[in-house]
Symmetry: C2
Subunit: 219 residues, 2 copies
């Protein structure tokens, strides 16, 4: 049974997966409340599914980039639990989770996560069966440089669509399509699914070596 | 706060939504277990989100077509709760929920739900912003007649893709794409989102008038 924690954006979520089935998913409150609500959230999630913490045999966590405090807390919690339970831990890029939420899509998927001060993290992906493949390395850049970096035809997704909506509507060409709003935040169910694939391939990380994925600004 | 119940297929689910945000979602066991697990599931869901039943102010339920017993139990439970709480109730077609889970899709979406005895329910939809529009009235027909009824280019989804996979792979043209497996069963979070839109438009139903959507076989 896999426990997945995503606290990488303003809207966190937790999920519990058994084999290929999501048993329960729970939304978390705003980042400021993670400190108080993360472990009680895990407890509520387990109770809702009628399971105990000892039954968790693997963990997956969002690695960012994203909200600084949320990520730190999510990683620390996942590291502590994986270490105490003695179970494997895997980390998934927040941008990859967001891209994987856009199915059946022939066009490239551009994931935008806000990086404060009118900057964004940009990841470009392409759908490939049940996963996504990376088209370009993640960049951190000013929002105003996006029109030059995006392909002519793409689906946009990610929390930055909300945070920078006015500016984006003004500067981006009209040919780009916007993902439905309910898919623009990472869902722990998607993290659980991607985490499971990584674990099946042996892609685990030693808990104390795990670091959030941050990037310096592009020069 | 909206409570959504979907027991229309072999994989039921429950969700709780506040405004436009899904607070918690819970998977239910196989249809045979609905009788025992549906109300305790609602209780676990509320507990996970830290809410009480009295805080539910609206209900949404999947109307089918789908699993006979599951649907009957889901509708009966939703009717009872809505009546006792005195809150509005809305019903959403199971096929529409499945179509709405395929975002950003220019091609028609063909939803296939198994109707036993090698028959399927077929619904044809097209994505339109955050919702879907109906392209053709729902039909019930033998699986073998599907090649004649499907458009040349479409995305297929629904539980029948698993149930009738071997036959479908054999008789359907290769140009059709198949939805990722995690989207082929209705999710109560999607039902909640569609139910909320219906309630905003005043599309409610008097609890005791609600009937499951079944269809006679096409002649």
């Amino acid at each position: 049974m896999l426990l997945a924690l995503d606290t990488s954006t303003a809207k966190g979520s937790l999920a519990l997966m058994q084999d290929d089935r999501v048993l329960a998913e729970l939304a978390l409150d705003a980042p400021g409340a993670y400190l108080q609500h993360l472990l009680p959230g895990v407890e509520s999630l387990l109770a809702a599914a009628g399971r105990r913490l000892e039954e968790v045999t693997a963990m997956a966590v969002s690695q960012g980039p994203g909200n600084f405090t949320g990520l730190r807390l999510g990683l620390a919690t996942a590291q502590g639990l994986a270490w105490a339970l003695g179970c494997p831990l895997t980390a998934v890029s927040t941008l990859e989770i967001l891209a994987a939420q856009i199915p059946c899509q022939p066009d490239p998927i551009a994931v935008l996560v806000d990086a404060k001060r009118q900057e964004v993290y940009l990841g470009l992906f392409r759908r490939r069966e049940s996963e996504v493949e990376v088209l370009a390395a993640v960049e951190r850049l000013p929002v105003t440089q996006l029109p030059r970096r995006l392909p002519g035809s793409a689906v946009l997704t990610g929390p930055a669509l909300e945070v920078e909506e006015l500016l984006l509507r003004e500067i981006l060409p009209p040919g780009l399509s916007w993902a439905p709003s309910e898919l623009r935040y990472p869902q722990a169910a998607t993290l659980a699914r991607l985490g499971r694939l990584r674990l099946q391939r042996g892609l685990t990380i030693v808990p104390h070596l795990l670091q959030p994925a941050y990037l310096r600004p592009a020069l």
